[in-house]
Amino acid sequence: MELFELTAFELSNKLSAGEVSAREVTEAFLNRISSVEDNVQAYVTVTKDEALKQADAVDEARKAGEKLSPIAGIPLALKDNMCTTGVETTCSSKILRGFLPPYNATVVEKLNDAGAVVTGKVNLDEFAMGSSTENSGFFTTHNPWDLSAVPGGSSGGSTAAVAAGEAAWALGSDTGGSIRQPAAFCGVVGLKPTYGRVSRYGLIAFASSLDQIGPITRDVRDAATLLTAISGYDPRDSTSVNLEVPDYARSLTGDIKGKRIGVPREYFAQGVEGSVADAVKAAIAKLTELGAIAEEISLPHSEYALPTYYILAPAEASSNLARYDGVRFGHRTARATNYVDLFEKTREEGFGAEVKQRIMIGTYALSAGYYDAFYIKAQQVRTLIKRDFDTAFEKYDAIVSPTAPTVAFPIGERSNDPLAMKLSDVLTIPANMAGIPAISIPCGFSNGLPIGLQIMAPAFAEETLLQIAYAYEQSTEWHRQRPKL
């Protein structure tokens, strides 16, 4: 196998054993990027020189006998909504073209301290708003399993890069499913941690009560390892939780005997394709074979999650995106004659259509006369959705469902139908509303396109999540498949 086809764990073992240097590993991935990027288009910025410098530093440290982190020397791609000092950070938006953050995101600091090798910044739907990466202000990323299909979104660049071997692993962000859905579409593992588990400092905000950074990897072990590396309390993020970070890889025993799994009937109704439902049901049967107990349950407010999200997320976004005003950073219009012009023209020129749409929805929902009917009402429904999960978790260790209703759709098929586009998040949104952790892992294919299995667990029960995911994964071969590029 080529170096770029290996998991981070396999690479880490080779590095520790001295079989290969971090430079060789990094060069292998950089060469891979050169050979497939024209087709995949995952990267906004490739940081070749910095990556090689980081790799050399790791090799030096290892020669000097230093004890190194399991993530040291392993090439990683960062979704371009995480601040990296001195490296352009754009959120795939024209309004941030050329923006050089004056500080690193906390997760980036942690990665740097641990010796990670960052290969570059990868593509997303503009400001993380979208489900296909087609809303990127620059270009669309292609699904490595079928270049005419979307990779999913908004972390489509991250998942495509990992699937294509253009990075051993990546970080994405998830507000309504933006790690899990593209992970499902690209046949990789994507994990959204519990809200508050990973610091949001330096993650350019979309919806502050929903956003979370998480790992995107080839397999569950790598997800566990990367999760440990990025988690932890951060006083610079007021929603960061002060809870110890376990070594998540330790929970991968493979034993799930007696684990109680709830299967919500509502998650098989909402426009779920036959082949997807079949693959997920087969996966649940496999979990039962492995000793888990699966039962049908109901999460009665599931159908209200989508409309609730499409009030709350845009409302929060309209506030978070008010800072893009052309004053202190980012694009500034050349046509301003007064300060109102400055704001209005700058934003008109800099934002794409989807972003403008969501700002408009959010502004409307928060405006006088509508605030109670829309925003407060949505927050109350959010409570009901959260309570559905609380009730279910009294009896069950985890909840299992398809990640997305369909497999990856063709590029261009839904880009003019925002409602159809949003339906692809229907099964992932509830976990963000409730703040609970959720993972997507590969569980099959339909016409050559990957299908994702979603597992959800109670807040801060990532160990349970990873346990169940690992047990299933190790009894199948899905995670060993590689697209032909």
Binding site: P307, S318, I376, L384, K386, G435
Partner: protein, 106 residues
């Protein structure tokens, strides 16, 4: 505030309302954009109508999922972003200040 809030909801946003919201959002939309937006927003607003079906009497709103409140730090002076770093990306600057078009009329 209790019970189901009744409100006369415009099931169709007018172009005028779109313009007003655009002003609040500080977006100078083109006429084509306004027309397209009206359609899209109305589709999504239809979805919102379904929330009115639910009885949320006595249900507290959830603004975020954690039981965290009033997260403060001690009132101790600490290092903050240096001026050069803060003005690094300024479209126009002078003497460590951001230059903008005139705000007040003379």
């Amino acid at each position: 505030m209790g019970g189901i809030t009744t409100i006369i909801m415009s099931s169709q946003l007018s172009l005028e309302e779109i313009s007003k919201v655009g002003q609040l959002a500080r977006l100078q939309l083109t006429d084509d954009e306004k027309v397209a937006l009206t359609g899209h927003l109305n589709d999504i607003l239809q979805q919102f109508g379904r929330l009115q079906e639910l009885d949320t009497t006595g249900v507290p709103p959830t603004s975020h999922s954690l039981p965290l409140q009033n997260v403060f730090r001690d009132d101790v002076a600490a290092a903050s972003l240096p001026r050069d770093a803060a003005t690094l990306n300024a479209p126009e600057k002078r003497d460590g200040n951001f230059i903008v078009p005139q705000i007040m009329e003379d």
